[in-house]
Structures are given as C-alpha cells and as structure tokens.
Symmetry: C2
C-alpha cells in the first residue's frame, strides 16, 4: 500500500471491501506492523463496519476451543454465512502460544474459501495486541464477513479486553478441570454469555454442568438485564452439540438486540476508541524536542533523588 499513490490505495481498498483474501491479509499485516498507512486504512473502512456479528470464544488451555471454533465456522458456512476467525494468543511461550499457527493450519475450515483464518500472537513484540485484534475485526467486518470469531486462550487481561469487544462471549470449560469455581472467583463469570461444557462424553460431565448451573444462580445480573447464560454440552471432535451452541448464540444475539444491550455495548466500544485516539493526539502534540530535552536535563537529579518524577511531570505540564 504505497502512500505516494492514492490510486493504488483506492484499488487496494476496493479489493479489501470486496472481501479478497490477500487484501484482507495484507491489511491485517499493516495493523500488526503499526505502519503509518494503518490508521488511514482504518479510517477509510470505518463507514463499512458495524454489520458483522462478533463472537468471543475463550477458556483454559486444552478445553478444545480451536476445534469448537472450527466446527462453529463450518456450521455457519452451511448457512451460507461468511466467517472470519482471529486466533489471538497474547500469552508467553509457556502455554504453547507460538504453536497456534501450525495447529490452525490443520483445521478443515481453513480449506473453505468462505472462511478467513488469521492467527495473531505476540511473537516477542508484546503490547497492543488487543487493540490490533479489534482493528483486525474491523477489517474483516468491512470486508463483508457476516461473523467474526475471536478465539483467545483466556489467561490474562488482553483476552478479557477482547472478550469485551465481542457481542457474545462463549466460555468453554471441560468436565474434569474444576474451572467453574475458579472462573467465578476472578470475574470471568461476568463476561460469559454462553457456557460450553466441551468433551461432555467424559466422566463427570453431568455433575460439572449441574455444579456450573448452581454457581450461575449466584451470578450478578449482567448490566441489570435478565440474561442467564445457558450451558451447552458439546463434543467438539464429533461436532456433537454445535447446532445447540449456534442456537444459544443466536438466542443471545436476539436478546441483546431486543433489550438494546448490543447498541449500548457497541457505543461504549466506540466511545473508548475516541478517548484512546484523543490520548494519542495529546501526546503527539505535547512532545516537542524541547520538552523531551527538559526530561534529559533533569533525569540525573531524579536519579539522585533531589527531584521526584512527580516534580518533573508537574513542571512540564504546568508550563504547557
């Protein structure tokens, strides 16, 4: 996307908006690499966003999220809906994040031309991953995908940020993990709109579902509304229960649309985006060479504890 030629840019934009895979891929790369063109692109496509339905799928490692995501995508394809999948793994290597790309390639949905799959990982660079994932969702949305699925590992703040960008969040658990109690303790219960008990052919599945439902009784109602998350039993490896899962998601979507929750959540997202952009602009406008210089001139005194970081910051912002 060379900046010098607006014509080239327009052609690229057209290809992107018509849903061409290579154009989508390149646009997401621009966002990942934080190129100067990325903001221009996001700005241009913004009017075309807001139509895709966004589903978040999260849960502990090994719960079978990848297989479920894949099955769900194939289910939507049978209904002639186009699907974009963003497999986001902000964790460090210990949970195997680096291998996500390889695993994804082996899924049958990747062979379907109506499904776009992209894996986004930190790759050492770290930071801003949740923002990039949201921008990538905007790209898929503008490119005409009916459904965008975020698949995340569910072990940190970035994943929760992403979950909050989803219209419906599915939390996947498995019978043997005792995750339900753990999930309740740390507030993941509040973000779940639909629960999946995957691998439900295993021992203890029914008891786990019963326990989860019992815990849900204590759940704080979601923004004052009446939605009680259903618990769907699935066996991802044999597509068992995928229809039920899709039905539960659809029911939640209808509920959100009817109660205005969808609109208010999306408004909140856009409001936050404006605040982020203003913050970026304020910083870009503020940092003159002279002000950066002022810090360098005083940092030695801060190291010596004759000045505090608070003093320096105050001096700078007062003079501005």
């Amino acid at each position: 996307m060379p900046a010098e030629s607006s014509n080239t840019f327009d052609i690229f934009l057209e290809r992107l908006l018509s849903g061409e895979k290579r154009a989508i891929s390149r646009a997401i790369t621009e966002v990942e690499d934080e190129t100067p063109q990325a903001e221009q692109l996001l700005r241009k496509i913004f009017p075309k966003t807001g139509t895709a339905f966004r589903i978040g799928i999260t849960g502990p490692p090994g719960a079978g999220k990848s297989t479920l995501t894949n099955e769900l995508a194939l289910h939507y394809r049978k209904q002639n809906l186009s699907v974009g999948i963003l497999a986001v793994d902000p964790t460090s290597p210990f949970t195997g994040g680096a291998l996500l790309g390889d695993r994804i390639r082996m899924q049958p949905a990747a062979l379907d031309d109506g499904v776009f799959i992209r894996s986004m990982a930190t790759r050492g660079s770290l930071g801003g991953l949740s923002k990039k994932a949201k921008d990538a969702a905007d790209i898929l949305d503008a490119a005409g995908k009916d459904i965008v699925i975020f698949e995340t590992v569910g072990v940190g703040q970035s994943e929760l940020d992403i979950a909050q960008a989803a219209d419906t969040t599915v939390v996947v658990l498995v019978p043997e993990s005792g995750d339900a109690v753990q999930a309740m303790k740390a507030g993941l219960m509040e973000i779940a709109d639909v629960f999946v008990m995957n691998k439900s052919d295993r021992d203890g599945a029914n008891q786990a579902v019963t326990a989860l439902k019992a815990i849900l009784q204590f759940r704080v109602t979601h923004e004052g509304t009446e939605w009680i998350p259903p618990v769907v039993k699935t066996i991802g490896t044999s597509s068992n229960g995928i229809g039920d899962l899709a039905a539960a998601i659809e029911e939640h979507r209808k509920f959100e649309a009817a109660t205005g929750v969808l609109r208010s959540a999306r408004t909140k997202q856009l409001r936050e985006r404006i605040y982020e952009l203003v913050n970026e602009h304020l910083n870009a406008n503020f940092w003159t060479g002279e002000r950066e210089q002022y810090i360098e001139q005083n940092i030695g005194e801060v190291m010596n504890r004759n000045l505090s970081p608070y003093d320096v910051a105050e001096k700078l912002t007062r003079s501005g």
Copy 2:
C-alpha cells in the same frame, strides 16, 4: 490515612519509613485501591527509594517459583538482610492465581519477622497491576527492605513489565517441560539474567541444562554487554542450590554495577514513570465537562457511521 490531618499523615509516614509491617501493608492497600492519598504518599517516600535490590523470579506454572522464592528469602535473612516479597499474579483463574494467597501463607518465610510477604492478584478488577506492583516495591524500598523480590507466573505482558522493573531477573525452568525452546521463541531469553533448572534431581535434568546452555549460545547479547546468564541447578524442596543461586544473583549485581547497566536501567524506569505521569496530567487537564459533552453529542453519529472516531478525536484535539 485521613487527608484532613497532615499530622496523622506524618506519623503514618514515619511508621512506614521505619519499616513497620502494618504501615507497609496499609500503604500497599492505598496503592492497590488507587486512593487519592496514594500519589501523595509515593511522592513523599520517593527520596527514600533506590537502595533496595530488586529481583524478579518468573517461569511457567508448577516450576516451583514459590518454594524457591521462599528459600531465597530465608537465605538472605541468615545474612541479616531484610526482604520484601511481592507475589504478583495477573492471570485469570485458570492457572490458579486466586489460590496464591493461601499458598503463600503456608511458607515458613512468612513467619520470619524480617520478611514481608504480599500477594497481589487481579481479583476481577484488572488493569494497572504491573504499575501497582512497582509502586509497592517503592514502598518496600522506602521502608528499608534490602531486597525486594517480585514473584510472577510468567505468562503475559504484565509479568514482562514487572521483570523489566527488576535489577536481576531469574527465569525458573524444570527438566521435563521443554520450556527452554519455547522461552527462546518468545523473547523471554532476553529478559533472563540467571536461569534456574529447578527440580534438578529429576530425570533429564543434565540434558535439559546442556540444551539450555546450547540455546544460550545464540542469545543476543544484553544491551551490548557481555553478560552470559549462568544456569543454576536447584532442588527447591530441599534448599539444594539456593546458595549457588544467591551467588549467581550477586555476581550479576556486581556486573551491573561495574558496567553501569544498573544505573542506565533504573534511569530508563524513572524516565518512563515521568512520561506516564505527564500522560495522566495531560488527560486530567484536557477533559473538561464540555469536551466530554461533545463526545456524547456526536457518539450517535459515530454509531450511524456518519462520523468516524478519528473525526471526533481530531475535532477535539484541534480545538484544544
């Protein structure tokens, strides 16, 4: 710490600086709860910071970090050094973070009066945990602790942020995990100053150490200096190798002091703190009721895609 009485505040400050446990505990709570007094407190104690040596201990779940941290603390106590431990777990419940507090209480170091242990977890509130952990380290530093240890789970960005605030970062691995290769892939190799192969009585420990050392040959040298991270074998449960670990940390400390790495890393931390504070002030000064109002007046048009978040942000910052 009632703001109305500066006398009460001064007495509290005195108790804190003299190292009183209850005062330390209360100060960290102020920081965790983001009370208005927290900044006042941090500002006051800043001149007393900069003397504690800060050690980061990170690694995958189950590597035995907690036991090692504990043994290391007891080792320092025998040398009459006072120790503060911050056990930081920014992960969501699936890795068992919520249980950290209970586990810590069972460690013998907690019974030693020269050791202050505090567990900091997200507890659903999320966000800002690494900043809070650094502020807590400043409190322990000002309260006279000779050593401050950050213990983190090592599966996300917050942990890496915290590791960067440590003077020496110890990465703990175990023989059977194959973590070394994974760690290399995602850049954790760059933050490790000392490696520990814990549970080194297990099968494959020697091979794992050999493999790790082979990988370290390919390590990019740390900021142009010549430090090559040693690999220390420990058996945390029997205190085996703890003396070697302490010696390796001490050697790294001396190296950092001699080469100026310590000073430049700490200068970088303070510079970043100033930038953060300026950013906070810029936002606080910018957001008048009128400007917030402007967003509310236009958010509907953004939802309808007649305006973009970029337009609104630009309008706001141009008028300012």
